[in-house]
């Protein structure tokens, strides 16, 4: 099966392993991801902070390119891009004069009829049903599923999962043999776009997320957003500094966790690209039996 695919800039650069694992896992399910032709950046936080019309026009051009290519479902693994594309689509559908104005700007008459899928929706709809019998190495880890903000909010527009305490990623983890824990920071913000320009704040916000996960004995944090990943992984030293602790938990993309369960080579999944090494302190069997696990992933500094 063929699906439209909008990787977004991060997946071409700092989050290559996310793209690699998405493509690998989709491939196992017989899903062929076809890139939106000549796609551009969605504008991310910068555009909607600085210029409203630009923040609508950039995603609109992406939607236009996908529409022109006849795509009906577009998979958008980056939560930020997913959010921008969904919000733009919603605003243009709600407001006809705005749709006409933006169509004029991007020189294409948008219909907005393509459906935008985040990675969890793609997995749930097209991947999980096809790989049920292919789980070779159950991902028997106690993990914290971290959704972040952009996947679930604004709830009125995205209408995805529960407003608080979402469950869709937890359900996927259960299907691959994992043990998603009940924790409190599933949808707290990691600091997102302030990663470069206000790094200490990001250290604090992401640190709080890691802290709650580690207190509850998570062996890893599972994410579905490149920004969340870079803040929890690449910015780990800042998190440690803000919380005055040292966290060793790896941060995996949900597709990497599924890939491991399917027995895909870690290198293909890009695990070597992480800043925090993907090492588990316990053998999976021990981890599964030893619950609730003590917070041994944390060492006081």
């Amino acid at each position: 099966m063929k699906l439209g695919f909008y990787p977004g800039c991060s997946l071409e650069g700092s989050a290559r392993e996310y793209a690699e694992s998405v493509i690998a896992v989709a491939g196992e399910a017989g899903v062929d991801l076809e890139q939106v032709p000549d796609w551009n950046c969605c504008g991310a936080t910068a555009a909607h902070n600085m210029n409203r019309n630009l923040s609508l026009a950039l995603p609109a051009r992406i939607l236009a390119k996908a529409e022109a290519a006849g795509m009906k479902e577009i998979v958008v693994p980056c939560a930020a891009c997913y959010n921008r594309l969904s919000v733009t689509r919603h605003e243009l559908l709600e407001n006809e004069s705005l749709r006409r104005e933006i169509s004029a700007t991007i020189e294409y008459d948008l219909r907005c009829d393509a459906e935008i899928l985040n990675v969890l929706q793609m997995l749930d709809r097209h991947v999980m049903p096809a790989i049920g019998d292919k789980i070779r190495v159950p991902f028997a880890r106690r993990v914290a599923c971290y959704y972040g903000c952009l996947l679930v909010r604004p709830h009125k527009i995205l209408k995805f999962d529960r407003l608080e305490d979402p469950q869709s990623m937890d359900a996927i983890i259960r299907k691959i043999g994992g043990d998603p824990l009940d924790w409190a920071f599933k949808t707290e913000c990691c600091g997102a776009g302030l990663s470069v320009s206000a790094t200490p704040l990001v250290g604090k916000l992401s640190g709080r997320i890691l802290d709650d996960a580690s207190i509850r004995g998570a062996e890893a944090v599972i994410v579905a957003c490149p920004m969340c990943h870079s803040n929890l992984d690449m910015r780990r030293p800042h998190c440690d500094k803000a919380m005055k602790k040292h966290y060793t938990m790896p941060v995996l993309y949900i597709t990497q966790a599924i890939g491991l369960a399917l027995g895909i080579d870690p290198k293909t999944l890009g695990l070597h690209r992480h800043m925090v090494p993907v090492k588990f302190e316990k053998h999976p069997a021990d981890a599964a039996s030893a619950r609730p696990a003590p917070p041994d992933a944390v060492k006081e500094v």
């Binding site: 407003l163 608080e164 409190a184 709650d212 207190i215």
Partner: protein
Amino acid sequence: MSRIGVFICHCGENIGATVDCERVARACAGIPGVVHSVDYKYMCSDPGQNMIKDAIRDHNLTGVVVGACSPRMHEPTFRRACEEAGLNPFLCEMANIREHCSWVHEKSEVTTEKAIDLVRVIVEKVRRNKPLFPIKVPVTKTALVLGGGIAGIQAALDIANAGHKVIMVERSPSIGGHMSQLSETFPTLDCSQCILTPRMVEVARHPNITLHTYSEIESLDGFIGNFKVKIRKKARSVDEKLCTGCGLCTQKCPTKKIPSEFDAGLGMRSAIYVPFPQAVPNKPVIDRLHCTFFLKGKCRLCEKVCPTQAIRFDQEDTIVEADIGAVVLATGFDIKHADFFPEYGYGAYKDVIDGLQFERLASASGPTLGEIRRPSDGRKPETVVFIACAGSRDPAKGIEYCSKICCMYTAKHAMLYRHKVHGGKAYIFYMDIRAGGKMYEEFVRRAIEEDGVRYVRGRVSRVYEREGKLIVQGADTLLGAQPVEIEADMVVLATAAVANDGAEELAQKMHVSYDAYKFFAEAHPKLKPVETNTAGIFLAGACQAPKDIPESVAQASGAAAKVSALFSQDELTREPVIAVVNRCAPPLYSTCVGCFLCQAACPYQAIEKEEIRARDGNLIKTVAKVNPGLCQGCGTCVAVCRTKAIDLQGFSNEQVFAEVMALLNRSEANAGI
């Protein structure tokens, strides 16, 4: 030949400033059949009325048209004046030249012409009016009180003490309502059950009150003074006459782990149970959804231990019918539960409880015998956070109104907690403190000043559990909206008070209107607060809007006074504006063909069948007949009748067509004037 008098009122400036009243009177004098036409500044005044009376006598009038305000205002006034002058009051009608003309138009020629038209139309109607006579209907002096909470109890006792019969229907196995669940009551802190149970007992013992618990309304038909009610008595599975309330069955019942409704889920009850020790009646009920015998066909332990053989597994629901004259709706309210709040954990945290659950914790008859203990582990909470406005005043959650009772009971909760757990810390997150009521503000001040309850002005964004504590994320808006984080042991949500489950269906059964939140609607928010739009049905307590105990009791007494006033008469007088089946056609039987389309269409079940027989007793035909007691004069039957055999008295087809024709022939008529 009709002799009609026309009286045009200036209503001071109200009509006079816009309509040329003199010209209207002059023009009307020219209408055929009008023998007298005058205008006057205030027709409703005594001199005005006397003008009408004198004219009736002097000119031998056969009809009166008053061109003035809405008939809603003064029709009774003018009809009474006519009656006093010896004219049948139904020969007097009003033409509304104020609301329908002067108030909605500018002063101009056409405005005056419109006023003339309006009067002329009514003249045409009055010309065809027939003398009518009011209908007398008897009053059944028995009241139905729906709901056995404090409002229902108060209303029932007041009506019964006035000497009238009362039938009380309560849905649950015992009367007492929410008040029986409460610990102590604000602002005096007297024990709720201590002041309530004497009233409950009084209801049970009162010779004028018949009590049906574990019962619901099946249907209500009829009209004020003459309702018929069907009550479904649900199968109790216990013979109430034989049962002595000894309690052996409930002790021996092996199924004991059912969350108790009375203890708001914090305590357990058995499958055969009495909701609480002071229940009225003190007779158990078998909960068939949980009873082992009903689930698996085995057990019958209660039957074996019952010393009076009162258990009846084969009992079935029974329907009781009764004639009643008035209804008091006192079905109360419900509250939202913790699972309504995603941000406070979707109800997943055991120590996040609602206000009623806290009442049970604080009550001496509750699951902890009045000690404040956490539902999760039974520990005494050292820090308790109370969250006011949980769901109330929250359009995002669909509840825009203020629940009114929470400010006070939250202050009481915090106070009780501080009394019971020494050294415990009580925080209340609030938006406003609404303490309007006798001794209420003083009560809140006492909580703050004497009992050390810490009020924080701000709403709580989120509650989550971490290492056995509940982390409460709030803000102090009086400190510049500074974030406040409290590690609490227990969180009490003052959840929104909402309409009861099934309020909508009940309202439809009772033919009363309800608001957007499914609270029953009063007839007028200020002047008719206990009446509904349906005559003879009254409201008491929180089924109309959230109310505290004093207010519920006051409204219940108000409703009881209305019922007593109604029952003080033996007969009710009703306007004769009802449908009649035409029986004038020869040979003295109806033109009705007996299709009974009208019967199907009538919303009031007022159409009956009548057999017309010849002298020898042979049936000639079956025709429709209108029951004058039931008919409300809506006219639906007139519209559906294929043979035009039904007419509405006072609004006959002939009259309505004459009115329309008067308007259509306007140009000719006006040309003639």
